[in-house]
Symmetry: C2
Amino acid sequence: MTITHRIALIGFGTVGQGLAEILVDKGDSLEQQHGVRFQIVAVSDLLKGSLYQATGLDAAALLEVVRRTGKLEEYPVNRGLFTGLDSLETIRRSNADTVVEISWTDVQTGQPAIDHVKAAFENGKNAVLTNKGPVALAYQELAGLAAAQGVQFRFEGTVMSGTPAIRLAQRALAGCTISQIQGILNGTTNYILTQMETGQSYASALAEAQRLGYAEADPTADVEGWDAAGKAVILANVLMGGDLQVAAVDRTGISKLTLADVDAARAAGERWKLIAKVWHSDGTTKASVTPTRVPLSHPLAGVGGAVNAVTYTTDLLGDVTLVGPGAGRMETGYAVLGDLLEIARE
Amino acid sequence: MTITHRIALIGFGTVGQGLAEILVDKGDSLEQQHGVRFQIVAVSDLLKGSLYQATGLDAAALLEVVRRTGKLEEYPVNRGLFTGLDSLETIRRSNADTVVEISWTDVQTGQPAIDHVKAAFENGKNAVLTNKGPVALAYQELAGLAAAQGVQFRFEGTVMSGTPAIRLAQRALAGCTISQIQGILNGTTNYILTQMETGQSYASALAEAQRLGYAEADPTADVEGWDAAGKAVILANVLMGGDLQVAAVDRTGISKLTLADVDAARAAGERWKLIAKVWHSDGTTKASVTPTRVPLSHPLAGVGGAVNAVTYTTDLLGDVTLVGPGAGRMETGYAVLGDLLEIARE
């Protein structure tokens, strides 16, 4: 027996196209193994245009037209195709079961994603997102709304892209209590630190990270720890019952680290890592992001390059560590798919 | 809303007592968070005796009487308590929803656990086990029986104890296809290899492992790779569609490794690990257990001591590695609890 799960994509950039590719490639095997067919019924992108067809759009045709023209306008016209609905209209009027919010989002305000997610819940639709802003800024409010409406709110891709850090904690470690989280949650800084281990200066390693597309022209969000702090807030609030704001994270970046620091750590059998940490203290949940010298025997010490990792300290298993990619088109596309499969299972 | 999930424990040794302790300590919080109360209705142990009470036994009293007397006989008599049912009678006649098979099992034949699991399925009961024998020997048959009866068959504790290696692959990585598995699946040999890195001979490291209780008086199953081979077969057959027997695993132990080998690896920036590997070749699934020199940058190289780890190579995420404990009373007790929570969720 197959159920059809209809999705609306709000935004059709890298992540949306990655997801569409996965659905084209693996739709049949997903149906066989999980009994569910994910059908894209709507795509609404501020720059590329907007399509809605209640009986389902053709994912391969969406990819073809966007690759060829950069827009959705030349998608083949056919009976029942609506064009031009904006994002909120798409969320309200489409027959999607789940809204996939992957538009460009302002990290300071979380908008327009927060409004998109709220509109989804108010219209009885689940929401999946991969942008950390809305979850870091408004998790408690959004989770409360979803619960009140009896719909689901999932955001695996906000931390470690598709590497299932959140599902591991919530599902696979269900029954364990997490008392501390430590992680390498930002691939750009981990890449720079790994390069510095080979003798490159901070400036040179940063320039290389920029050339490779790991770091942006303005690298502040990564190198000063803001990105990792946002992810630490998500883990704190979702997995450890916190009610933290990003500004409350004790945050230090890596931009002041020198090769002399790296050499001093090496001489002591240690290695610098930008460690995000979440713990309980005095009845509240705290978080920090700090360059930290970890011994080479530490499970996070061996995590090199743009890879991410998280260690959960639990009551029943002690430390459990998950290591995997922290970015990437297919990786983040998979983050959405994994969330959709969880929603379909419920 | 709380549902009550009734369980029968076949065997009440280390794992069963660990599980009972967890249920005593965390029963209320599990009920709050997961909406389920696990109730031990029966315990049947060949040496300690057998109790069945349809309305539920008192887990704290079970632990107290076993700790004090080594047996179950002095459990307080009360109305509705049945004593003396053997394991098969307990499975057939009790009102348990799930049979937890944690008795002593012959690794060559998988008995009596295989018969216990079959009896559970034939009587419409789910089965959870932590002993790898039955799963390594008879997974396809037992999984087929469970499916035919519409009941569940879970065995997280057979690989890496409570570290959720199987749930990670089946649930948290759902939608990914696994093309290769590499793991450190035996803690005893990893402890010995880690000690040899510090200059201890194989014989001395083995003796220390035996003193610490990591290795048995006859260490063959661990040091010659049989234990890891059984776990590799489980991962191959459960996660990669294989139909392997333990005898078909290309298996080499660590007993021939010398300090000279360890030094040679170190000089090359590498480290010996007993690596269990599963892969597809010529349309079939293959497995090996072999001492392997891995570069220090490899995610498995940093896994020291009695810790276990597994790396799944996937189509959508590349490599995802899970590191955690591979043995222990509470750890394996948790393996059962995690499986019970999955069953209760379905």
